[in-house]
């Protein structure tokens, strides 16, 4: 039997808008995943540490303040430095279309902008998990 996907939902930086992060966290939990929510005002270091401590499969990052180009890649960098390079990193918030490609290069696999249905996010994560090596662990 497949184990539950473990997801860390995180708010990097000083941005205090947590409505979206909480809605996604609730939706993923209702979709049968284990969800840990970091709370607000997390540094990239705190997020990477939590991801390792909680042994998550997925890290979801939410920023609405415009600081994503600095903070998202930093989280990915720190995960790699901790020897974790097979987690799925996804993002959401207010992220211009023009930045999505750059973020992909920096290791953010998908960005779910405003209006993204939570069902789409859950399906994406589930599909990734099925085809990843983590599912068999």
């Amino acid at each position: 039997m497949e184990r539950k996907v473990r997801v860390l939902v995180a708010k990097p930086g000083l941005d205090g808008h947590d409505r979206g992060a909480k809605v996604v966290a609730s939706a993923l939990r209702d979709a049968g995943m284990e969800v840990i929510y970091t709370g607000l005002h997390q540094t990239p270091e705190m997020i990477a540490e939590a991801a390792v401590q909680e042994d998550v499969d997925v890290v979801g990052l939410s920023i609405l303040s415009g600081a994503h180009m600095t903070l998202f890649p930093r989280v990915v960098q720190l995960l790699k430095a901790k020897g974790v390079d097979d987690v799925l990193v996804v993002g959401g918030g207010i992220i211009p279309e023009a930045d999505v490609k750059e973020l992909a290069k920096a290791g953010v696999a998908r960005v779910f902008g405003p209006g993204s249905p939570t069902t789409e996010i859950a399906a994406y994560i589930r599909d990734w998990f099925k085809s990843s090596e983590r599912a068999s662990v």
Partner: protein, 553 residues
């Protein structure tokens, strides 16, 4: 049979005759908050409404119809667009643009480091400088922000909470440098810390010292800055976080009453500080629900201030408010549609009797407003004011069976919430338990589910969708150089100023924080010496500690 029984009988017969329910569309007939809406309202829905007791005349208790006796016939609402980005210079330019286009008041949006009490060169500010507001680290930046803006002629609202005392001090000092004494400046600081723990989440210190700072500001302004609104008790953010209209109304007023109690407990005469408390509500998309909400708010505040808190001055009973159209109602898809949403929301705020209004720009789901977009937002207000005729008469919807019924219903829902909050021991205890936060996140999740199930329609998002649409409007970009420029500025300031003086002023501030003296005078003194915001916040953090939330979802 009395007149109401006659109407009830007649309605019954009408329904039997026409069967309006039989051919009803398959749709959700609810307000956006989830309250059911009937197909028809009649005098029976407001049976018992007493004009004198429940509505009254404008400018008189209970102020349901408006806080001024001639409302917009005397003076239009202030057109006050929330604005700020990049450096103080960038924002000063935007302020001149807005004033030039007919805005009648200023409203400052600070960047996150300022909001959270960090200078631009703090490690936590990396990537954040100038991105969602203007970078203000010191009085020097503030002077640039208001360059060529006469503070005796223009009023300014500053959206700042935890460090509001410091920004107020900066503003007072800018006034001084212009030769405008503090008794002649007018404006508002948001300074509503309770809703930070509940919704906006830009806190620094724990609740108790934060309330002390607020009562210090109330006392200081009563004596020295009499034309200043010391708090903008806010529902906007509570609504943006996902609450219903009733929750927005109830939680905001509950916060307001908590401030009144704090002021009284601190030994201030209620009639000295209450007239300078103001409010800030959201204007969401459900047109009539919003109008009813504003009217209910005025009536509830008037009654409680008079009956419960014993305020004697009518100025203490009247609820003055600013409104912002709902950011959370806007879409990233087909952004031009947001012009339409904002227009309807603005109209409801005007029909609800707002004193001041900000209209969102169409591109705010994508970036900060471009010049073109904010001009349209401003023109939206000007068209309402000058072309629609709605400002010709006061509270035009009074007497509407639907609107009065909604006003009554929202009022009752608010009182139900007041009782629950009381039973928890008040607002601060309820915050500790996560009561408001859970109500809000539950409401947000319920609404999201409604959208995903197709029960609530969002045009362009779950209906009338355009696949592969191209965004064809100009998008404002923040120059990454802004961070480097601002970091250099604040470092240069620290090198240039009299650092011994700053050190002494910060020491005085530290001692005041540890005692019970009013904090405003030492903050103003430190500001004058060009102590930075981050330095002053660090001193206060050292004494008061930092707030830590318990994240729940």
């Amino acid at each position: 049979m009395d007149v109401y029984e006659k109407i009830r009988e007649a309605e019954k017969k009408w329904r039997e005759r026409c069967k309006p329910a039989a051919t009803q569309r398959d749709a959700l007939f609810e307000t956006i908050s989830g309250d059911p809406v009937k197909d028809l309202y009649t005098p029976c829905d407001i049976e018992g409404l007493d004009y004198g007791r429940d509505l009254g005349f404008p400018g008189e208790y209970p102020f349901t119809r408006g806080v001024r006796n001639n409302m917009y016939r005397g003076r239009l609402w202030t057109m006050r667009q929330f604005s700020g980005f990049g450096t103080a210079m960038d924002t000063n330019q935007r302020y001149h643009f807005l004033l030039d286009r007919g805005q009648t008041g200023l409203s400052v949006a600070f960047h996150l480091p300022t909001i959270m009490g960090y200078d631009s060169d703090h490690p936590r500010s990396i990537g954040e400088v100038g991105r969602c507001g203007v970078a203000i680290d010191s009085l020097e930046d503030m002077q640039v922000l208001f360059d060529k803006i006469p503070l005796d002629k223009v009023s300014t609202s500053m959206t700042i909470n935890a460090p509001a005392s410091i920004l107020l001090a900066f503003y007072i000092c800018v006034g001084e440098k212009q030769g405008v004494s503090s008794d002649r400046i007018s404006g508002t600081i948001q300074n509503d810390i309770l809703k930070e723990y509940i919704a906006q989440k830009s806190w620094i210190f724990p609740p108790e010292p934060s309330m002390r700072i607020i009562t210090d500001i109330m006392g200081f302004c009563a004596d020295h800055v009499p034309k200043w609104n010391t708090i903008s008790i806010s529902g906007y953010h509570i609504r943006e976080a996902g609450s219903t209209a009733a929750q927005e109304l109830a939680f905001t007023l509950a916060d307001g009453f908590a401030y009144v109690e704090a002021g009284i407990k601190a030994g201030l005469d209620v009639d000295r500080f209450a007239p300078r408390l103001s409010y800030f509500f959201n204007a969401h998309l459900d047109f009539f629900e919003e109008i009813a909400k504003y009217r209910a708010a005025r009536r509830i505040w008037a009654r409680e201030m008079k009956e419960k808190y014993g305020a004697k001055k009518p100025e203490s009973w009247l609820l003055r408010f600013h409104t912002q159209t709902a950011g959370c109602s806007l879409t990233a898809q087909q952004p031009e549609n947001n012009i339409v949403r904002t227009a309807y929301e603005a109209l409801s705020a005007v029909l609800g009797g707002t004193q001041s209004l900000h209209t969102n720009s169409m591109d705010e789901t994508l970036a900060l407003p471009s010049e073109k977009a904010v001009q349209i937002a401003l023109r939206t207000q000007q068209i309402i004011a000058c072309e629609t005729g709605v400002a010709n008469t006061i509270d035009p919807l009074a007497g509407s069976y639907f609107v009065e019924a909604l006003t009554n219903r929202l009022e009752k829902e608010a009182y139900d919430y007041f009782e629950r909050i009381e039973s928890m021991g008040g607002v601060v205890k309820a915050i500790d338990r996560g009561f408001f936060q859970k109500e809000i996140s539950d409401a947000a999740y319920a609404y999201q589910k409604k959208i995903e199930q197709g029960k609530a329609v969002v045009v362009g998002v779950n209906e009338y969708v355009i696949e592969d649409e191209k965004i064809e409007i100009p998008i404002l970009k923040i120059d990454p150089e802004v961070e480097r420029i601002q970091v250099e500025r604040v470092k240069a300031l620290r090198a240039r100023r009299d650092n011994d003086l700053v050190k002494r002023r910060l020491e005085v501030l530290k001692n005041a924080a540890g005692g019970s003296d009013n904090l405003m005078p030492p903050i103003v003194e430190a500001a004058r010496a060009y102590a930075t915001l981050g330095e002053m916040v660090d001193v206060l953090k050292g004494v008061f500690g930092e707030y830590k939330e318990r994240p729940i979802f």
